[in-house]
């Protein structure tokens, strides 16, 4: 009886001390915490307003139609290292890393410019980002506007250690109509 009690205490201690493993399969990186993308609107230089549904559009399986130089935004997370990328095809992730980097058509990170914080959201203008050449960010040339088509995007970030991704959004999409 004493032995059983000892085992019970040991198991209780083990369960109490065990680290909770985060699993969010709906996110781009399923071992990260959710980065919320709320719906927002932005206007182009002609004062035409575009609506981005964010996570809501994703859940309702709606594709928002926007212009070729979109504004991307997400709920502020104040991480020191954050990046957002636009893909011309669905994002493929395995082993906690993105495999189809060659499909990235545009990318921005906190080392390029500082994003704009407004109403609890973090905004990045398309022109602030860079395009990729040979799977590397091309910091020298300016970015071209997006051709018409379906695009996928996501945002993810690291803590100050820069080791593991701790926040990531869902894979979102939009359609560019010129």
């Amino acid at each position: 009886m004493k032995f059983l009690r000892l085992i019970y205490c040991y198991l209780f201690f083990l369960i109490a001390c065990s680290e909770e493993i985060i699993t969010n399969p709906e996110l781009l990186f399923d071992n990260s915490l959710p980065l919320i993308v709320s719906s927002y609107e932005y206007s182009d230089i002609y004062n035409k307003t575009y609506f981005m549904g964010g996570d809501t559009s994703c859940l309702l399986n709606i594709t928002d139609t926007i212009n070729s130089i979109p504004v991307l935004a997400w709920d502020s997370i104040y991480l020191p290292i954050v990046t957002v990328a636009i893909f011309n095809s669905s994002i493929q992730v395995s082993g906690s890393t993105i495999r189809n980097i060659n499909n990235i058509v545009w990318q921005w990170h906190t080392g390029i410019t500082s994003s704009t914080y407004l109403n609890g959201m973090q905004y990045v203008d398309y022109k602030e980002g860079k395009k990729l050449n040979n799977n590397e960010i091309d910091y020298t040339s300016s970015v071209d506007s997006l051709p018409e088509g379906l695009y996928y995007w996501a945002v993810w970030g690291w803590s100050a250690s820069g080791v593991d991704i701790i926040y990531s959004s869902r894979e979102l999409n939009f359609y560019v109509k010129n």
Partner: protein, 415 residues
């Protein structure tokens, strides 16, 4: 202070015809209190004896002012100044057979705690007479003390009390099981001695001795003693009574005591090699570990500062160890040593040397604290990261050399 005690001896002279009677039967028949008998109770006994005895007896009951029987009193019967008989009374009662009522009868009563009592009387043919005598007592002082080493009561301390030509040797008490079978340490380290003296100006000298302790001396005049339990603190001797044979140690070091902000914990077991020169050498085993936090840096995105990541590693070692006492180990304070552990490095599968030097201070006879400086140079793997802008960073191990110098605080138990 006038310490004159008035002890009254109530002497009841009984002149009654008796055949034979003993004190024990007297008590048993009466069934009274053994410490003190009231005069009415004695009178009842006398009347009982009167019925049973035909001869004339001289009997009495000796008690103190505190209504206690005087034990072990010697009573001597003199008739016409000639010795006739004497008895030792173990309960205060005594009796003599007397035939000549016209003689001059004298009684001498002596007891080491009291002044001698002499009295004389002429007996008549009455049934019985009761006499009351008042006597001056001697001084009786209960000397009590408790011996400590620090705050710990010391049992088995030899206490030598010298008073005039008398020398008394007693020991302080230890713990014991009481009547209810409880472990009782209430009187641990205490001693008591009842001193009887005539002169309150007498001096008494106390000498306390115990192995491993410095002798303790105290002197006083009897009248200065207030009656309280004297608290006497003995100090440890400079040298241990025996050279410790076995030595078990636990060491710890905090980040502030380490050059590289490490935690250190270690255990050790040593055996002393013997006497003479060999007592300076200890052989043993040590097992210890450094708990160290290592920070590695790596670049991330362009224009961002380098990221740094902390990882905690435990680097354990164990192996045989040789210890040389520079200051002999039997010294109580600051016996200093040096040595080296030939340690197996579990982190990198190799053997290294851990030179050390330290000093030891005993807290009591078998517990000590020590301060030790230890150097360890070893190789171990450290995890480094390569930033990945599209996922978790990749990891790889790099072998690095560590130099650890820590000041360790330890506790030792010697056997």
């Amino acid at each position: 202070m006038n310490r004159t005690f008035n002890i009254f001896f109530y002497l009841f002279f009984i002149i009654i015809p008796v055949f034979s009677q003993s004190d024990e039967i007297w008590f048993n028949d009466f069934g009274g209190d053994e410490n003190y008998l009231l005069p009415q109770q004695v009178e009842q006994y006398i009347l009982k004896m009167k019925r049973e005895n035909e001869e004339t007896i001289v009997g009495g009951y000796v008690s103190s002012i505190y209504h206690e029987s005087v034990d072990s009193a010697r009573i001597i019967l003199l008739i016409n100044e000639s010795y006739v008989d004497s008895v030792y009374s173990n309960n205060g009662l005594f009796s003599f057979s007397v035939k000549d009522l016209s003689s001059r009868i004298a009684l001498k009563i002596s007891h080491p705690d009291f002044y001698d009592l002499d009295t004389a009387m002429i007996l008549t043919a009455s049934d019985y007479n009761i006499l009351q005598l008042v006597m001056n007592p001697k001084y009786k002082v209960s000397i009590r003390g408790r011996v400590f080493a620090g705050n710990i009561p010391l049992e088995g301390v030899s206490v030598r009390i010298r008073h005039l030509e008398n020398v008394i040797n007693i020991n302080t008490r230890g713990c014991y099981y009481d009547k209810e079978d409880y472990w009782n340490c209430l009187y641990q380290g205490m001693f008591r001695y009842n001193l009887i003296t005539v002169n309150p100006d007498d001096s008494i000298y106390l000498t306390l001795t115990k192995e491993g302790m410095k002798p303790f001396y105290r002197g006083m005049v009897v009248k200065e003693y207030t009656g309280e339990v004297m608290h006497m603190k003995m100090k440890y001797a400079e040298m241990l009574p025996i050279i410790p044979k076995y030595n078990l140690g636990l060491k710890i070091s905090f980040p502030v005591m380490s050059v590289s902000n490490d935690w250190f914990v270690g255990i050790s077991a040593y055996r002393n090699l013997g006497k003479g020169f060999w007592r300076r050498i200890n052989l043993g085993v040590e097992a210890d570990a450094y708990i160290t936090t290592i920070t590695v840096s790596h670049p991330t995105f362009i224009n961002l500062p380098q990221s740094s990541s902390d990882s905690t590693y435990i680097h354990p070692f164990t192996g045989p160890s040789l210890l040389l006492w520079i200051v002999p180990p039997e010294k109580r304070y600051f016996s200093t040593y040096t040595g080296s552990t030939v340690a197996y490095n579990f982190s990198k599968s190799g053997v290294i040397f851990q030179p050390f030097a330290g000093t030891r201070v005993f807290l009591d006879l078998n517990k000590a604290i020590n301060l030790e400086l230890r150097y360890t140079g070893y190789q171990a793997d450290v995890i480094h990261y390569v930033f990945n802008g599209y996922g978790d960073s990749s990891r790889h191990k790099e072998q690095e050399f560590f130099r650890k110098l820590s000041l360790n605080l330890g506790i030792q138990i010697v056997l």
